[in-house]
């Protein structure tokens, strides 16, 4: 039986890490995820976990140590934010290419410059091509639940890929919520023991990992890696259902709010989805056919599934809490519209860029987005698909 506890998002994640009891955590603290590392280090010092905690000198070293520990055959977890994730960038690709199931909590924060410690998704979006799976939690409960699923998904024999579990910096990481904390044994049973595939410490079966790989095989290896993601998507669905069967909270690739007959749809990730839910409920009371697509799984990007739920929309707004400088539109919009276009769906679509560096997004801002949708549902695709909101002119 679970116990409801008032926890900050960061504490909920640290508690989940204690319950998972990984073999190795090699971490370097950075705001706003510092508290997770700090709390977990205390669990280690107090003997509550068996984890080998490696205090490294940078995030580059942290992810290097994590990837190596996973290659050796350990269950490995790590935590970071923003510039810390950016410093891991080189190794992120290697972790995924080597198919090591490392689980990394990313407490989303704006990338410098200028220096900003508050929430946006530019850190995770910057890592979107590295080959990691990326789950976005809306609140502390989801951040907690997602971590167990992240381990289960990553370690599945048909997946063997690293997973980032993302939560919004400060908005979730430092906010107290009632979190249903499940029983240690029930969770450990649910996650199960880890059976590493081809661990380097199996000295009786030596093999070569990460060798020189040039024009003659590299592209075959990348093509083979490409093929891993449909299986990983299926694993996200199955582990989300399995979690629900045991603990009563089911998860999928996305959460659809009033989408069955929705004409005006907003799409968002992270805590903003919670704000959108309230607005959608209010608009429904006023008779507006509003809906929300909360994307939980950004990688693998569930293109056909998104098209399926968006194909009836008369107008769509995709909310990006990140910019992609020099690109025509921001990442979530680009991928969503690409999915729609390649499946023959051409609803008018607006890309909203908002919330960078922790700029607040309020219900009235979302109401404004629905007003824009009403207009473009009538007038058609706007000439400039990008609109920044919550920014002073």
């Amino acid at each position: 039986m679970g116990v409801r506890q008032p926890l900050e998002g960061n504490n909920a994640v640290a508690e989940a890490m204690r319950q998972i009891n990984p073999d190795v955590v090699a971490a370097y603290p950075i705001t706003p995820s510092t508290e997770i590392v700090q709390t977990f280090a205390k669990f280690v010092a107090d003997g509550l976990v068996d984890t080998n905690f490696v205090a490294v000198e940078s995030e580059h070293s942290a992810m290097s140590a994590c990837t190596a520990a996973a290659a050796a055959g350990g269950r490995v977890m790590n935590v970071t934010s923003a510039n810390g994730l950016a410093l891991m960038w080189e190794i992120l690709y290697i972790t995924a290419s080597l198919r090591q199931p490392v689980v990394l909590t990313v407490v989303n924060r704006a990338l410098s410059g200028n220096i900003n410690i508050h929430c946006d998704h530019s850190d995770a979006m910057g890592a979107r091509d590295a080959g990691w799976l990326q789950l976005f939690g809306e609140d502390a409960q989801e951040a907690y639940d997602n971590l167990f699923q992240a381990v289960a998904i990553a370690e599945r024999e048909d997946v063997r890929l690293p997973v980032m579990s993302c939560l919004d910096g400060f908005l979730v990481s430092h906010s107290y919520e009632l979190v249903e904390v499940e029983d240690d044994d029930a969770l450990r049973d649910w996650v199960g023991p880890y059976k590493p595939r081809m661990p380097l410490l199996d000295i009786n079966n030596p093999y070569t990992m990460g060798p020189l790989d040039l024009w003659d095989y590299y592209i075959e290896h990348k093509r083979s890696q490409w093929d891993a993601y449909p299986d990983a998507k299926q694993a996200v669905i199955e582990e989300g259902q399995r979690f629900g069967e045991t603990f009563g909270r089911s998860y999928g690739l996305m959460e659809c709010v009033e989408l069955d007959d929705a004409e005006l749809v907003v799409m968002a990730m992270g805590s903003t989805a919670g704000t959108c839910k309230d607005v959608v409920a209010d608009l429904r009371e006023q008779g507006v056919k509003a809906g929300l697509l909360k994307l939980r799984c950004f990688r693998p990007f569930p293109a056909p599934e998104i098209v399926e739920v968006l194909k009836g929309a008369k107008a769509l707004a995709v909310l990006d809490r990140a910019a992609s400088f020099g690109a025509a539109t921001a990442p979530l919009f680009s991928e969503t519209v690409s999915a729609l276009y390649s499946h023959g769906v051409h609803a008018p679509a607006l890309n909203i860029i908002y919330g960078l560096g922790g700029r607040e997004i309020r219900p009235e801002d979302i109401v404004g987005v629905f007003d824009d949708l009403k207009a473009i549902a009538k007038s058609g695709q706007p000439s400039d698909p990008v609109k920044w909101i919550g920014v002073r002119e």
């Binding site: 290419s97 080597l98 198919r99 090591q100 063997r160 595939r197 081809m198 030596p206 093999y207 070569t208 990992m209 990460g210 060798p211 020189l212 790989d213 095989y217 592209i219 075959e220 290896h221 093509r223 083979s224 890696q225 093929d227 891993a228």
Partner: protein, 106 residues
């Protein structure tokens, strides 16, 4: 030499996930002869078997047996043609000659 893991024309579905090679220490089987534009040739008559070339070669491409290199030549599947052996030879008896292979092998 162990068997090659992948056939030369192996397709992407034949790859081991993660790009692993399910054996260890097989770099020996990977020829890098094509990386070379010059190759070393030793004048065995002038060589005094000091073994400097063998010690300094970064690619372990100088053949040695019973503490002698004379008459054994170079491993031209793995020599990169860097010329270090020629540079360190106290008798100047290694020459870097044009081409990746000696003329008769081309």
């Amino acid at each position: 030499m162990s068997d090659r893991v992948y056939a030369k024309d192996a397709g992407w579905k034949d790859m081991v996930a993660g790009g692993y090679i399910p054996q260890a220490g097989n770099a020996e089987e990977y020829s890098v002869a094509g990386w070379r534009i010059v190759h070393p040739v030793r004048d065995d008559d002038a060589c005094i078997d000091c073994l400097f070339c063998w010690v300094y070669c970064p690619d372990n491409a100088v053949y040695v047996e019973n503490e002698s290199v004379i008459g054994l030549g170079f491993d031209l599947e793995h020599c990169k043609g860097c010329g270090i052996c020629a540079a360190v030879c106290p008798k100047d008896c290694i020459k870097m000659e044009e081409g990746s292979m000696p003329a008769e092998d081309e």
